[in-house]
Amino acid sequence: MAQLTYRDAVARGLAQEMRRDERVVLLGEDVAEAGGVFKTTPGLLEEFGPRRVRDTPISEQAILGAAMGAAMTGLRPIAEIMFSDFFGVGWDLLANQIAKTRYMAGGQLSLPLVVRAANGGGLRFGAQHSQDVANWVMAVPGLKVVVPSTPRDVVGLLAAAVRDPDPVVFLEAKGLYPVRGEVPDGEITDTLGSAVLRREGGDCVIVTLGLMAPRALAAAERLEREHGIAAAVLDLRSLVPLDVRAVLEQLERTGRLFTVEENPRLCGWGAEVVSICAEEGFTSLDGPLVRITTPHVPLPAADSLEDAALPSVDRITETVAKSMD
C-alpha cells in the first residue's frame, strides 16, 4: 500500500484508466509538457504520447466542445479546466450542450466524458480562483458531480467517472492536493452515488464532502473529546447521484443532522440535503437541521479572511456543540 498525495492520486487514477482503455484521452491547458499547473498530470505525456495527452490553447469553449464532440463519436475524453471558476467561460458548452444534448436528442447520443477541475478554497487565491462551484453544476440536469476527499477516493472515483457513460464533473478539492493518504496497490474502482461513513457516532451525523471532510472528522474528534458528543461523519463523495439512502439512515440512527459545505450560503447542496431530510426523514428528527457554510460572499484572499469565511474545525465544533446543548 502506497502513501500518495491527493495530487499524485489524480495522475495515478488517470494513468490507470488510460492504460485500461485506449479510447481515454486527456486534453487541457498545460496538461502535457508541463504536467499540469497543479502537477496533477506528470508522466502522462511520456507514457501515452501526444495523441492521447494534449495541450490546448486557452480556449475553454474549444476544450469542452472538443471533449463533447469526441465523446459522441467514440472516445472517452477527460477535459481539464484549470480552475473550476473558469466554468463560467465555457458555461454554454457545459450547461447547455454537454448537459442537454442526450436528452434533447431523445437518447440518440451518449456523452461519456469527464470534466476535471481544481475546485474550492484554502490556498488564498481570492474570489476568482477559489470558489466551490459544486452548486452551479449540481443544479444543471444532465451532469453528474463528484467531489473526492481522500487520495484513495480520487483514484476510485476517477475510475468510476471515466467508465460512466454520462458526463461527469470531477471537482478536485485543491486545498487537499498536498494531503497524503493510503492508496492500495492495483486497480481501484468505486461507484458513483455511494457515500462512505468515515466515523461512527450515535448522537448526530455530519454530512460533508471534499475539503470539508477532513475538517468535519477533526471536529467530530474534538466533539467527542471536549463535549462528549459522538458525531458520525458521512462523506457523500458525489452530489449527483446523491446517496439519499445513506443520509436518511444516519439521520434515523442519530436524530440530528448537520451539513458542512464550502458553498456560499444560498442554494448550496446542503440546502437540498436538509430539505430531503425535512420531507422524508421528519419523524427521525430530534432537533433542527443545521447547515454550516461559507457566508454568502465571494471568497476573500487574506489568511484571516479566507479562514473566517470557510467552515473551520473550530466553527464546526462550536456550531454542533451549541445546537446539541
Partner: protein, 323 residues
C-alpha cells in the same frame, strides 16, 4: 443516378418540406418557433451530396434541410416539428434540435456558435481513430462574431482537424445586416488568414459550385490536409424565424436575390444541358407526394407519452439523480 438529378431532387424536397412546415405553422400545428432555410437549399444539397454516409453533420436551429439531406425521413422531421411521438427525437427536441445519428446528423444547436467546437471534437475523434471521416459544420454569418467561432477555428488549425466550417452567409443575423456589425467585409473568408487558412468564397446559390467546393475540401480533409473555412453567399427568402416577415430588408435586394433562386435556376440549367422536362417534373411530383405522405404520417402520429419527460437524461434511459 446522375449527381445533377440528385442535387435537384434534394433541393426540391427541401423546398417542398419547408413550404409545408410554414403552412403547418400557420395552421397552428407547428408550435414554438422554426427557422426556415428557403432560398439556401443549394448549400445543404451540395455538401450532403459530396459527403460520405459516415461523415458528420453539425447544424444550427436552421437545420431542417441539412437533416433531410443526410437521409433522415421527412415524416420524422415534420412529426418532430409538430411535437409528435413519431418525431426524430420523440418530441424532445423540436424544430431547433433535429438529430439523427444513424444518418450522421449529429445535432442542431440553438445557441449561436456552440457547435463549432463540438464539430471540431468529432473531427478530432475521427483523426485519432483513423476513420477518415470528416465533420461538416454549418453556421450563419452572424456566428463569426462569437468567441466560440474563433476558439474552434484556431484549435482546428493547430490540430489540423478534418473539419469543414461552412458559413452560410445569408447577409443577415436576425434582423441586422451582417455588414453593419462586422469589422471585415466578408465575415468568414476575411478571417481565414487569421488561422492560416485559405480564403474560400463560393456562390451558395449555385449548387454545382457548392458541390465542387465541398468535394475539394472533403478530399483535402480526408487526406490529412486539415480544416477548411468556406463562405457560401446566399439568401433566406423569408424572415429569420416563423414570426418575422423580413420587412427590414430593402425591396430591391429581396427582388435581386429572388431572381437568383437556386431551385428554378438549376432547373433552367438542367434543361439547357439537355435533361428532359419529364425527368424534372417526375422529381417534383415525387417530392410533392412525399411531402403529403410525410405530413399525414406526422399528423397521425401520437402525442409523446408524458412519461418520456423523465427518460433519456442518462445513458441508462432514466433521469434519476438519487437512490
Amino acid at each position: 443516378m446522375d449527381v445533377r438529378l440528385e442535387l435537384y431532387r434534394q433541393m426540391v424536397r427541401m423546398r417542398a418540406m419547408e413550404k409545408r412546415a410554414y403552412d403547418l405553422f400557420l395552421r397552428g400545428l407547428v408550435k414554438g418557433t422554426s427557422h426556415l432555410s428557403t432560398g439556401q437549399e443549394a448549400v445543404a444539397a451540395g455538401f450532403a451530396a459530396a459527403m460520405r454516409p459516415d461523415d458528420y453533420t453539425f447544424a444550427t436551429y436552421r437545420g431542417h434541410a441539412h437533416t433531410l439531406a443526410r437521409g433522415a425521413p421527412m415524416a420524422g422531421i415534420l412529426a418532430e416539428l409538430m411535437g409528435r411521438g413519431n418525431g426524430l427525437m420523440s418530441g424532445k427536441g423540436g424544430s431547433m434540435h433535429l438529430t439523427s445519428t444513424e444518418h450522421g446528423m449529429m445535432g442542431s444547436y440553438a445557441i449561436v456558435g456552440a457547435h463549432l467546437p463540438i464539430a471540431g471534437g468529432a473531427a478530432w475523434s475521427a483523426q485519432l481513430r483513423g476513420s477518415e471521416q470528416v465533420a461538416v459544420c454549418f453556421f450563419g454569418d452572424g456566428t463569426t462574431n462569437i468567441g466560440a467561432f474563433h476558439e474552434a477555428l484556431n484549435l482546428a488549425a493547430v490540430w489540423q482537424l478534418p473539419v469543414l466550417y461552412v458559413c452560410e452567409n445569408n447577409q443577415y443575423m436576425e434582423y441586422t445586416p451582417i455588414r453593419a456589425v462586422t469589422a471585415v467585409e466578408r465575415p468568414a473568408a476575411d478571417r481565414a488568414a487569421a488561422y492560416g487558412l485559405e480564403r474560400v468564397v463560393v456562390d451558395g446559390n449555385d449548387v454545382d459550385a457548392v458541390y465542387e467546393t465541398a468535394l475539394g475540401a472533403l478530399g483535402k480533409a480526408r487526406e490529412g490536409g486539415g480544416p477548411s473555412l468556406i463562405e457560401a453567399d446566399t439568401y433566406r427568402h423569408g424572415g429569420h424565424s416563423r414570426a418575422d416577415p423580413g420587412t427590414y430588408r430593402p425591396q430591391r435586394e429581396v427582388e435581386d436575390w429572388l431572381a437568383r433562386d437556386p431551385v428554378p435556376a438549376y432547373r433552367t440549367k438542367l434543361l439547357a444541358a439537355g435533361i428532359a422536362e419529364s425527368k424534372l417534373a417526375g422529381i417534383e411530383d415525387a417530392a410533392a407526394r412525399e411531402t403529403d405522405e410525410a405530413t399525414k404520417a406526422a399528423e397521425d402520429g401520437p402525442l409523446p407519452e408524458p412519461a418520456l419527460v423523465e427518460r433519456d437524461l442518462w445513458a441508462d434511459g432514466g433521469a434519476a439523480w438519487r437512490n
